[in-house]
């Protein structure tokens, strides 16, 4: 257990030294700040709090950025160490392979969570500072859900990135895969679904199938979780018009995210255990 902590601390220090911590915080903060300024402008005096507006815009953009940052943080974590020769050395130490892989995952998750927390925190404070409501009057529940689900979304793609890194043999290949995975999950999946729905084939597809196929993608589960599970965000994002049978409960979407975290973590523990050095 002490070894796991040592490995986690090393991972965090590495990311800090490689300026990954700074970069991630900078991107998240810049993104959040821009959105909170732009987002709060046109609302005027509606009944919806400006923080909720910011949450809606943040979650729409985070769905692109968090997987990207997570994949960039993790794609090289095992292949890269192997290429430098430090992996082989580490494996001769009295440390189990599972600890090594988990140490990377936990360390990177800590870095990413910090970036999310600081970035969104700054955004929220800006909104509060610029608005004229009392601190307690904002809908902090919605904001908390955004942070929680963003960290989970990050964990999903960190897990996928480390799994990839534990299977592949060269870091250049791993980089290509990282971009590919990002495109598939975040862009192409939705495009494909959209294409399918606007084609004649859509007539043969029951609504249920479409709904579950969509929820199966962690990025969409994240988006739905933030947009459709509270009244205000649903109203803002056009999700309010869904029929009862078209929605999915928050618990289900959280479970989808949990499953998407557990699966890659188990997968990389398994594949790293079997990796040849």
């Amino acid at each position: 257990m002490a070894n796991l902590l040592t490995l986690v601390a090393k991972e965090i220090r590495d990311s800090y030294r490689n300026r990954w911590v700074a970069t991630a915080i900078l991107i998240m903060t810049a993104l959040a700040l821009v959105l909170s300024f732009i987002g709060s402008a046109p609302v005027g005096s509606t009944s919806i709090s400006p923080l909720t507006v910011t949450v809606v815009s943040l979650s729409s953009l985070s769905v692109f950025f968090i997987p990207l940052i997570a994949l960039l943080l993790s794609y090289n974590s095992i292949v890269g160490e192997e290429e430098r020769g430090t992996l082989m050395l580490l494996l001769t130490y009295p440390v189990s392979r599972i600890w090594i892989a988990l140490g990377k995952f936990i360390g990177q998750l800590a870095v990413l969570s910090l970036a999310i927390l600081i970035g969104y925190g700054v955004a929220a404070l800006t909104v509060v500072w610029a608005g004229d409501l009392a601190f307690g009057q904002y809908d902090w529940g919605v904001f908390g859900k955004l942070i929680l689900s963003s960290v989970m979304l990050g964990a999903v793609f960190l897990g996928i990135g480390i799994f990839m890194s534990s299977v592949l043999k060269e870091s250049a290949t791993a980089a290509a895969w990282a971009i590919g995975i990002w495109l598939v999950f975040v862009v192409l999946f939705d495009l494909g679904l959209l294409g399918l729905l606007s084609s004649p084939a859509a007539n043969y597809l029951p609504d249920m199938v479409v709904k579950w196929v969509m929820i199966a993608n962690p990025a969409d589960a994240y988006r739905m979780f933030n947009l459709a599970t509270s009244e205000d965000t649903a109203l803002l994002s056009g999700m309010a018009g869904l029929r009862a049978d078209q929605t999915v409960t928050a618990e289900v979407m959280l479970s989808v995210l949990m499953a998407w975290i557990a699966l890659p973590v188990l997968a990389f523990c398994w594949s790293f255990q079997r990796r040849k050095v």
Partner: protein
């Protein structure tokens, strides 16, 4: 104190295939306590594969390997790892860390006290650089840092894969000096190298690998005698004296006159002393005399030129 007679390393009939490629074929090897063994062979001879097997990183296709009494393929071997120091052939430590941070990290993983880190920096004369980032280190400093890493936790068994390749003679001497100290403490050392001249006088024994087979195993003298590689006696004297020596020894020894003032006598190592005695007995004047024993490089070359089938057994 009772000395353990069990060898630190015992590998029996180890073979390793990578698909069709036979990286190791029926390799057997033992390393006693406090012994320093050189594993010698060209690139691709199977040294690194053998080292990986000894470290339990990859399983052998056939054969048994015990290190410090434990089967390297069994779970129980994990405990032994604490007592093994390893320096990989090529390693690039995280450049953004300082030397001290790096050693502290490895010390923690090995359960070694942090105070050892300071001692090692002193030992390797890296104190001044300890708090600089590794990106500012020279190659020699990085190699010293790597070796310091291997010495963390006072290992009983050291495996060094090409520890001195690419280093200048000063740095190399320093590293061997420290290894000498380790050996005196009773540490067993396995060094791999393709550069034989670098390890001449520190090894007790050499195992020569060629294309995955052991083609020679023994002390330096033993290996030399097996192949009957001859020593050379170089004598510098007046032309007349050279002539005299030639006529005396020509019928029984291989003797060459390289210049007017130089003769070279080739002889088996065991005959050096009698021959020198008879030269002195001639009572001639000579200005210089040198005895050149075969270097490991020459022995190695001879073993490499042997037919592959020439491996004894």
């Amino acid at each position: 104190m009772k000395m353990s007679i069990k060898p630190v390393v015992s590998a029996l009939g180890v073979s390793k295939n990578f698909g069709q490629v036979k990286a190791l074929q029926d390799v057997s090897l033992t390393l006693g306590k406090g012994e320093c063994l050189a594993l010698v062979g060209h690139n691709g001879a199977g040294k690194s594969t053998l080292i990986k097997i000894l470290l339990g990183l990859i399983p052998p296709t056939r054969g048994m390997v015990h290190v410090m009494g434990a089967d390297v393929q069994k779970r129980g071997f994990k405990k032994c790892r604490q007592h093994i120091g390893f320096l990989p052939e090529q390693i690039l430590f995280q450049k953004n860390m300082t030397g001290r941070e790096l050693l502290l990290f490895y010390a923690k993983l090995k359960g070694a006290p942090g105070s050892q880190v300071n001692d090692l920096f002193r030992k390797f004369e890296l104190e001044a650089a300890a708090d600089y980032r590794i990106s500012t280190y020279s190659k020699g400093m990085r190699q010293k840092l790597g070796l310091a890493q291997a010495l963390l936790g006072e290992p009983e068994f050291l495996i060094l894969d090409e520890p001195t390749s690419g280093l200048d003679p000063m740095a190399r001497q320093k590293i061997y000096h420290i290894l000498g100290e380790e050996k005196q403490k009773g540490t067993s050392i396995l060094i791999s190298s393709h550069v034989l001249t670098e390890i001449d006088d520190r090894v007790d024994r050499a195992v020569i690998l060629n294309s995955g087979r052991v083609v020679g195993d023994g002390t330096l003298t033993g290996l030399t005698q097996q192949l009957a590689i001859q020593s050379r006696i170089v004598i510098e004297a007046t032309p007349a004296a050279c002539e005299r020596i030639k006529t005396v020894f020509a019928h029984e020894l291989d003797i060459q006159q390289t210049t007017q003032r130089h003769v070279v006598i080739h002889c088996e190592q065991a005959r050096k002393v009698p021959i020198l005695n008879s030269i002195y007995a001639l009572g001639i004047q000579f200005s210089d005399i040198r005895i050149i024993d075969p270097t490991l490089e020459e022995i190695f070359g001879a073993y490499m030129h042997m037919d592959r089938g020439g491996a004894n057994g």
